[in-house]
Symmetry: C2
Subunit: 235 residues, 2 copies
């Protein structure tokens, strides 16, 4: 079987779904099902990546992905950058309002923003009102359901263990975050947040795709802390 034009070399672990598929280190998505194509020999498999039209085909032990259109990866990057930027804007807005720390989160369903929230710890006198928990609560209220398995969440910063737990409990399918936890710790936040690093593997195993922004996305997210640190009361 020849590779279709415009495909890239895809890396898949040799295990049953769910698993994370990546191209050149960039996570494409969580593969939830693989169908064997018996006409093409025993090494050929077809997998569907949720949220895209990509078809994955194995070919003599190597695997390629035929995207539905050229530049699929770039489109995913652009889309992620757009929603992550919105989460970063929320982080600034939260500090401007005096509502809490510089953290924002956006819940997206079918390319539409469901809710866009920021940290409300000070405003609501509630230590659990982190941006992600607030966004999940608001999205569930708005959509009238307790599970968000058709949604993604974009967070300006790596979630803390409480927020990772909330993302898991809400069954959100995909998390994209901007700044590393260490960027928040560097301006004085509890290093408890970095425990999320330990949790990442666990949550990925639990069917949640997790993507750390890179390049400009990571940069604008990490700048939030330096740019706001004089403007809010640390708690």
């Amino acid at each position: 079987m020849e590779e279709a034009q415009g495909t890239s070399r895809l890396h898949l672990p040799l295990s049953f779904p769910p698993f994370v598929a990546s191209i050149d280190g960039s996570v494409l998505g969580c593969v939830r099902s693989v169908a064997a194509d018996s006409d093409s020999g025993p090494l050929v498999a077809i997998a569907t990546l949720p949220g895209s039209d990509s078809v994955v085909q194995s070919n003599d032990g190597t695997i390629s992905v035929a995207s539905a259109f050229a530049g699929h990866q770039e489109a995913v990057q652009d889309r992620d950058h757009k929603f992550l930027t919105k989460a970063v804007e929320e982080a600034y807005r939260g500090v401007d309002c005096g509502d809490g720390g510089p953290f924002g989160a956006v819940v997206v369903c079918n390319d539409e923003v469901v809710v866009s929230c920021h940290n409300m710890v000070l405003k609501h006198t509630d230590p659990t009102a982190h941006a992600e928990v607030t966004a999940i609560r608001e999205a569930c209220k708005k959509l009238g359901k307790i599970e968000l398995s058709d949604c993604e969440i974009y967070a300006s910063c790596e979630p803390c263990p409480m927020c990772f737990g909330a993302v898991h409990l809400s069954r959100i399918k995909r998390l994209v975050y901007g700044a590393k936890a260490e960027a928040a710790i560097a301006i004085g936040f509890d290093d408890f947040i970095a425990d999320a690093l330990r949790g990442t593997g666990f949550y990925q195993k639990a069917n949640l795709e997790i993507k750390k922004a890179d390049g400009n996305g990571a940069l604008i997210a990490e700048q939030v802390f330096e740019k706001t640190k004089e403007k809010f009361q640390m708690y």
Copy 2:
């Protein structure tokens, strides 16, 4: 130095505070400060256990505790049992009301109940409205502050990672729980909750004293699941 009458052999790790002091496997409290008593030789130390008048003295490498009154341990057990029973009653109440799963939590400050809450996931269409998160939010609202460092929390069941995170963020000083997470998993809850086991060591290091109920306290807490499993909608 002779041990005072009515004292018990106390086990303390040979490290600097904070650390957890225990007698015969029963956790007494988190020791936050140790003062050396130079008159009594280099091996003697006096430590104060927060929330009690206990004085801890080391004696040639062994350490004894002189309680402020005989039966101190029994009083702590009785007190813990009283508040844990209230948390268990909340778990049943939550199911009776149809508000959510069979989980209850009580926040206590200076021997007084601040709030007594149960799981509100179904009632509020909110996957983050676990009993502990709800209790912390309500206690903060009632006390008008975002940190509960003078409070304890009693939970009918071992907290999930999200709730452990919320307890940590609220700076609650002491957690007493009844049922092991496995008792909830046995009736069908997400085994995500058992990840808390991994977290216990981490949270203890972070100045939170954690006590697992034993005997009758554990029994009544674990019975909650068997007794309610037909009465609520699993989510």
